[in-house]
Amino acid sequence: MLGYISKRLGLAVLVAMTVSIIAYMLLYLSGDPALAIAGEGARQADIDMVRKTYGFDQPIIVQFGNWVLKLISGDLGTSIYFKTDVGPLIFSKLVTTMLLALYALAFALVISVPLGVIAAIYKNSWIDRLCLAVAVVGQAMPNFFFALILIMLFSISWRMLPVSGSDTWQHFVMPAITLGYYAAPAFMRLIRAGMIEVLEADYIRTARAKGLPTRTVVFKHALRNAIVPVVALAAVQLGFLLGGSIVIETIFALDGLGYLAYQSITHKDFPVTQVIVLLLSVIYILLTLASDIANAWLDPRIRVA
């Protein structure tokens, strides 16, 4: 187990290092970052000044080294647009986005677990097909279009929920539904497939033969086993939800990391964009690491591979 963990940890560190290089190099996609920051039509003197201020005149490897050293010492740089330290700026928004992702994940599970279980029990019936339809629509509907429909219904027609902002729990309802519905189909398919497999297992037949009520068999014996792979998927999906929050937060002007990312990208605020890319990647790496270790702990067969 310890060998597996250390191997997995080593990989995670290596991936994080590679991601940090890519996140830093993103800046150079524009050709000359000094020119991009100064804007089109800037005077040569201004461009030179920007180049000197941000250290673009140094060799790229030195710049990257300095950036990483500063990151490690806790200095995440200064935002060009907001004129504040990136660290406090990002961590104040991270809470909002984490909340959104967790609510979305909760919503996804709340609809996908019952639907997946029902679909498996009544497999190949019209109920199964109805549940499949819910999943298919969720996969086909662009999430920003779904968000706009929700706004029309809940905010304009019924006047139940606020359109934009992030002050109260009501502000999180529509973003969480939009994001969660997008994530739900994957869970539904996994639970349905898992339940169908488990329901055919011998111990389920034994439980039924013992005369246990269907409810007990389904929820206590079958679901418990079918839910194991869902835990692994949940960790991965949580990472996707954090990344996907950029579109949703922008629509609802929810003041989280995604909205900040959008603002920083449109304002060419590189220090902020770089740190957000790196932060979201590191969160994803940590989540998959945690889920892999949890899986290996639950299922000894994985440790050997």
Partner: protein, 275 residues
């Protein structure tokens, strides 16, 4: 039988959309770029104020919405197909190399896939497009260079399975070159998986382009990208929701038909396996 129904229905719908896109210049009632400022936001025909002159109405600049919708299908399909080809080439090459040779190459490819997966696609795509500049071809290149991960993962495991087959050993002992074995023995046998992933990735690329264009960092006006049409109509949505509902529904129907065709193909091409 039911699976075939999915395939037939999905492909039928898809062929209809492709036909509309190909025949756009002949079936569009108007020029999609012609602005008629005296006829702005005319509603579709099923509204009282609508008319058959503009069956789906006109947008905020008086351009015929049906014509824009038909031309928009061209953009979505172009994006889906091009991105699937670019990312498919990258991912398939990586996956087949990893699956065939194993060892160090496999480790390197797995590392690249893990790294790619840890970076959020939409964020990196947005940042890249914002820096490089946004145009249709840049969006295609950026998405193509970002979305090869699933191709690599699936092609790797498919190649691993095929590699241990007897006909591969036979070709090896007959002295065929590695390249020849890859192209004539392995590739045809992993093709079913490749086609299925390509359809799913095309659908996902279309959705990503729509999201990028919706955020203003994708295809640029006046091109009629469906995502861009939704974005442009956003400020009119409280009064004319159909301006959003029409391109939104078109996107959903296109994605639905591709996914359905992909599922159908999956069941038809790889019998005995489950999604």
């Amino acid at each position: 039988m039911l699976n075939n129904k999915a395939l037939v229905f999905g492909c039928g719908l898809l062929i209809f959309i492709v036909a509309c896109a190909l025949l756009a210049p002949w079936i569009s009632p108007h020029d999609p770029y012609f602005q008629d400022l005296t006829n702005r936001t005319v509603p579709p025909f099923w509204y009282e104020k609508g008319s058959w002159l503009h069956p789906l109405g006109t947008d905020q600049l008086g351009r015929d919405y049906l014509s824009r919708l038909i031309y928009g299908a061209r953009i979505s399909l172009l994006i889906g197909i091009s991105v699937a080809i670019i990312s498919g080439l990258i991912g398939t090459t990586m996956g087949m190399l990893a699956g065939y040779f194993g060892g160090r190459i496999d480790m390197a490819v797995s590392f690249l896939v893990t790294t790619r997966l840890s970076m959020p696609v939409i964020l990196v795509a947005l940042a890249t497009v914002a820096l490089v500049g946004s145009s249709l071809w840049i969006v295609i290149m950026v998405l193509g260079l970002l979305k090869w991960d699933r191709f690599a993962v699936v092609m790797r495991s498919a190649t691993q399975q095929v590699r241990s087959m007897e006909y591969v050993s036979a070709a090896q002992s007959a002295g065929a070159s590695t390249l020849r074995i890859m192209l004539t023995e392995v590739l045809p046998n992993v093709m079913p998986h490749l086609i299925v992933i390509a359809t799913l990735e095309a659908a996902s690329a279309i959705l990503l382009e729509a999201a990028l264009s919706f955020l203003g960092l994708g295809v640029q006006p006046p091109l009629p990208s469906w995502g861009l049409m939704i974005s442009e109509a956003k400020s009119y949505m409280f009064f004319s929701f159909w301006l959003i509902a029409i391109p939104g529904t078109a996107l959903a129907v296109l994605i639905f038909s591709i996914n359905l065709a992909g599922d159908g193909l999956h069941q038809a091409l790889t019998p005995g396996e489950r999604a």
